[in-house]
Amino acid sequence: MSQPVILGINGLTKRFLGLTAVDNVTFDVKRNEIFALIGPNGAGKTTLFNCVTGLFAPTMGRVVFDGKDITGSRPHRVAKLGIARTFQNIRLFDYMTVIENVLVGEHSRMHAKLWDSVLKTPLERREEKHVRERAMELLRFVGLERHAENYARNLPYGQQRRLEIARALATDPKLLLLDEPAAGFTPQEKAELMQLVQRLREQGLTIFMIEHDMKIVMGVSERIVVLDHGEKIAEGTPEVVRRDQRVIEAYLGKSA
């Protein structure tokens, strides 16, 4: 159970027709660390996320989560095993309330069978009550409890991002993938996000995020992998990556 590697990416390749979006990438995410994946636009970061969460089947290579090979597993299986994610372009359930969004996250942890739901058995009532309480707790955690009964789409942008995190947490994950969680955030919101990520790590979660904001990446993450044109060009602590010549070139061009 306590092996140090929670997510192993081995020689992962994803091709779309002629385009190689992710090219033979190998790295490990260790348990209970904050790990960042960075790279210029179009480097294949989100594609890699999609391969991990089962939205895409990798062309080659393996994805190992918690000792299990999950290469090509369907997304709901992956979620059930304990990987939750947020999306780069927020994908909430717009016409459901904030609390309902979180409750969907609880889905795979619930046990009520069809007949329990149809007939509202005591088991179902108890479970509903329980998951509602848990969902409210999560909303308090991200500071959205006042908006529990609002439509998700009526939340302002920053709160939508936080709701996505709450929804992901509701699946009770071991590994949380955040796809550009700070995109479009104000400096204050970014600071709050960094605190939130730190708190989650303290609770035992492993965080694996894609982020463009260097202040956040350098501020919270312990290790970083850099992708460029689908290839891994650097890996290491923020200090190492910051000084890496290829990383500087990828971001700023050769003249830098």
């Binding site: 016409y95 459901m96 007939l119 179902e124 609002n150 302002p156 942008y157 920053g158 992901a168 204050q188």
Partner: protein, 406 residues
């Protein structure tokens, strides 16, 4: 009385209930269930059965609308072939609850009691819901609509072609009439044990009326339970964003199949009742225009996704189509003669007379009413309350405040 706070507390609860629009709709519907027979009896006298008969027929469509709402309103799967499951339920009763199978290759009539076939029809429709659902899982929107439309055309056609089994275009007639189940007369009354008694419903519409009201009541409770359950939320999540739902651990395949199957089961339920009430069925009763599309109109017009709204939509559209519009020629001729324009009522050259002209415009009038309703209330008559707030008030000013100051 003993506790002084009791009356205000009851008043407070009543006030909260009256603010809840769905509660009001249900209260009116329940009251209507009891008042309609009384009014019919008072105004129509001995022919009050005609009214109850109509209401019971409308009830069939209410059941169908509740079922289709699960597929279209909750899960967001546009199903244009819903009549197929209705037909399957009806033919289940027609074949297994009549002397018909004696004529077929089986050579034995099967008279299974109505009360059992109610559940057999439901189960068969659910099964066919799965069969239709399976190949359409990858389809969405327009493409799904086309495949389901095809299914809805195929099923009645099979019933029409397979003459040796289904009676073809003439259908199956002389179906058994439901008998009262034993628990109504009761072994405690000193009678032998039997599942049913020889107390047939006969031609009296009252038992059918009572039965359909009971079926609808049960269906509403079950559908509401589903809506507020884990499964209901999974349906809505699939409707809103399938990818995100899957990433949250919702298995889209199972959830969609359940939507098709459970939606179809309501239809099978309705089909058995419909066949038993009518006493004879034929394939033309289950077409696209007269069933599938009408139910969809009921669901959309009533307020997709909201059970009480859908019921109102079903009742409204049914009476518009079957009572009000057929009466229009009579009403217009009467109105014309009462204001001294009775010459309009007589044919004159190309003019066929007001009554006939209105008669010819039936579909246009029906269409205009539908288009008009959707223009003025695009969300349906009684949408789910949240969605209504969304469409009328737009985003709340609080959000704007938060967004601009954060």
């Amino acid at each position: 009385m003993s506790s002084p706070g009791r009356v205000p507390r009851l008043l407070g609860r009543a006030r909260r209930l009256t603010r809840n629009r769905d509660a009001i709709i249900y209260a009116i519907l329940i009251a209507g269930v009891f008042i309609v027979p009384a009014i019919a009896n008072f105004t129509q006298g001995t022919s009050s059965g005609v009214v109850l008969d109509q209401v019971a027929n409308a009830g069939v469509f209410v059941l169908l609308a509740i079922g289709l709402n699960i597929v279209v309103g909750f899960a967001g799967l546009l199903d244009l072939g819903y009549a197929a499951f209705f037909a399957i339920g009806a033919y289940t009763y027609a074949m297994l609850g009549s002397g018909w199978l004696d004529v077929t290759a089986i050579h034995h009539a099967v008279h299974i009691p109505f009360w059992i076939l109610l559940f057999v029809g439901m189960g068969l429709a659910a099964l066919f819901g799965l069969i239709l659902g399976a190949p359409t899982l990858r389809l969405r929107g327009d493409y799904l609509a086309i495949v389901t439309l095809g299914f809805g055309e195929i099923v009645p056609r099979i019933f029409r072609i397979k003459i040796e089994w289904t009676g073809g275009i003439n259908g199956i007639t002389a179906l058994d009439q439901p008998t009262l189940p034993v628990w109504l007369t009761g072994p405690w009354a000193g009678q032998d044990f039997a599942l049913t008694r020889n107390q047939v419903f006969g031609l009296d519409p009252v038992p059918y009326y009572v039965l359909i009201v009971m079926l609808i009541a049960v269906s509403v409770v079950l559908a509401t339970n589903l809506y507020r359950s884990r499964l209901g939320r999974a349906w809505m999540a699939i409707r809103e964003d399938e990818v995100a739902a899957a990433a949250m651990g919702v298995n889209p395949v199972i959830i969609k199949l359940l939507a098709f199957s459970i939606g179809a089961s309501f239809s099978g339920f309705a089909g058995v009742f419909f066949a038993a009430k009518l006493g004879g069925i034929d394939p033309t009763l289950f077409g696209f225009q007269n069933v599938s599309i009408v139910i969809l109109v009921m669901v959309v017009l009533g307020g997709m996704g909201n059970i009480s709204g859908v019921i109102v939509g079903a009742i409204g559209v049914y009476f518009l189509q079957n009572v009000i519009i057929p009466q229009l020629p009579i009403w217009t001729t009467g109105a014309a003669s009462s204001i001294g324009l009775s010459f309009l009522n007589n044919p004159n050259g190309d003019w066929a007379g007001l009554g006939d002209e209105v008669q010819r415009l039936n579909f246009i009038i029906f269409g205009l009413i539908l288009v008009g309703t959707m223009l003025f209330r695009p969300q349906g008559l009684f949408p789910s309350q949240l969605r209504q707030a969304e469409l009328t008030k737009g985003t709340s000013d609080q959000s704007v405040f938060d967004a601009s100051t954060s």
